[in-house]
């Protein structure tokens, strides 16, 4: 179970990191723009939060299948394929929640930061610093979505023992085989992991909020 738990954390953690690395700057950009493209991007990100994971799994599987456009990479039924699927599921969450967190800041914050002599990159960093509690929530939501995902990772990972088996797919398999005691144990590990991550992020959020009496 330890091996499966470590793999779950690894796959979901990498997917969350990639989603955060792409999604935070994109969410910031969308929040600061007023053009049609930005509005369309936000609509897509919001819609993407309700993207059916099984559909993501199907699309990634078709892309990575031997006859698919990326079949030559030989990634199907590997942890990399699972990371790709989970990143696609987590990315809209990070984008939409980052944009919401930045838009909730003082409207004049960007301008006044630029007036202090900041470069655009410095002003962007200042805004993200101010939106820290919201960003932490975005990353937590993304990790939660990735960690609890089962349909997509089953389709692209194949639940291969010792290679692509993670907590969620293990719970599913144990239940199908009638090994309810094992399924409950794995489910408890999954729940414990979610609670531990949530506690860490909540503590970090608390530290950020304590520096802001305007909460």
């Amino acid at each position: 179970m330890i091996e499966i738990t470590i793999r779950s954390i690894g796959v979901s953690g990498v997917a969350t990191l990639i989603a955060a690395a792409l999604g935070v700057p994109l969410g910031l950009k969308l929040a600061l723009s007023n053009g049609r493209a930005a509005r369309a991007g936000l609509v897509l990100a919001n819609a993407g939060m309700a993207l059916p994971p099984v559909l993501v799994g199907l699309i990634v599987a078709l892309a990575l299948w031997r006859g698919g456009p990326f079949g030559g990479l030989d990634l199907i039924y590997t942890p990399t394929a699972m990371v790709i699927a989970q990143t696609i599921i987590a990315l809209p969450l990070v984008v939409a929640l980052t944009a919401a967190a930045v838009r909730a800041l003082e409207p004049d914050l960007w301008t006044q930061t630029m007036a202090l002599g900041a470069t655009r990159a410095q002003a962007a960093r200042m805004l993200l610093r101010e939106a820290r509690p919201g960003l932490l929530a975005a990353v937590l939501a993304a990790f939660g979505a990735a960690l609890s995902e089962v349909g997509a990772v089953m389709m692209v990972g194949g639940n291969i023992a010792g290679q692509t088996r993670v907590l969620t797919t293990s719970v599913l398999q144990a239940t199908r085989m009638g090994e309810f005691e094992r399924a409950v144990g794995l489910g408890a590990a999954l729940l414990g992991l979610s609670i531990a991550v949530s506690a860490c992020v909540t503590a970090a959020q608390g530290a950020a909020w304590r520096r802001s009496p305007a909460r």
Partner: protein, 223 residues
């Protein structure tokens, strides 16, 4: 070249400035010169475009026509200190807020310099307090310290007397005059009386237009 007051070399020069938002609202300022050590007041009714004009001077908005030049060069925001009517507060202490401008410039002495300005403005005792616990007047002082800590050559003050009355207003006026000394300063207010003691001359903006000094309406506003 002399300023419009005819005595000082201009540090700020505005020429043929035209600015319009997509909504169509427009601003027009044909000429303005402000010398080093000179404080110019800008008065006009609410919504006349005074704050937008300050943002153009600060390089925060780009004009469609004309230009603002500082010391003969394009606007460099790092030479400007801007105190907004409603200053935004960053997470953190009063000292951290005051030091931001210098930190953005990579200055290692940011905290020490910021503390000096907090002492000058008599709010050093709040240095370690969260800035969002301060009163409105204290926030105004912290915002002034934040703008001055970088030793700007041009100081822009947007409605600095808002929410102040009586003796506090007079004290603040004296304080601002001390802080503005030696710098080119542009002060915006909708009350010409406030500007009289702080500015050496007062310009008038109405309906987005910086009025010529001999305009009849400008004379009425100054009076």
């Amino acid at each position: 070249m002399a300023t419009q007051s005819g005595t000082l070399t201009p540090f700020v020069e505005v020429a043929g400035l035209r600015f319009a938002y997509l909504s169509g609202w427009a601003l027009r300022a044909d000429a303005l010169a402000v010398g080093r050590g000179e404080a110019v007041g800008l008065v006009g009714p609410n919504g006349a475009g005074k704050s937008t004009f300050l943002r153009l001077l600060a390089g925060l908005e780009a004009p469609q026509e004309g230009a603002v030049r500082l010391d003969g060069a394009p606007v460099d925001r790092r030479r400007i200190g801007f105190v907004f009517q409603r200053p935004v507060l960053y997470r953190g202490s009063v000292l951290e807020n005051a030091a931001i401008g210098l930190r953005l410039r990579g200055r290692r002495d940011a905290r020490e310099r910021a503390l000096e300005w907090l002492e000058r403005l008599e709010i050093a005792r709040f240095a370690d307090d969260d800035i969002r616990t301060l009163s409105g007047g204290q926030v105004q002082r912290a915002a002034l310290a934040r703008a001055l800590v970088t030793e700007p050559e041009l100081l822009l003050l947007d409605e600095p007397f808002a929410n102040l009355a009586g003796a506090a207003r007079r004290r603040w006026r004296d304080e601002l005059a001390r802080c503005a000394a030696g710098r080119a300063t542009v002060v915006v207010s909708h009350d010409a009386g406030d500007l009289a003691s702080l500015a050496s001359r007062v310009e008038v903006m109405v309906d987005g237009t910086l009025l010529p000094r001999d305009h009849a309406l400008a004379a009425r506003w100054r009076a």
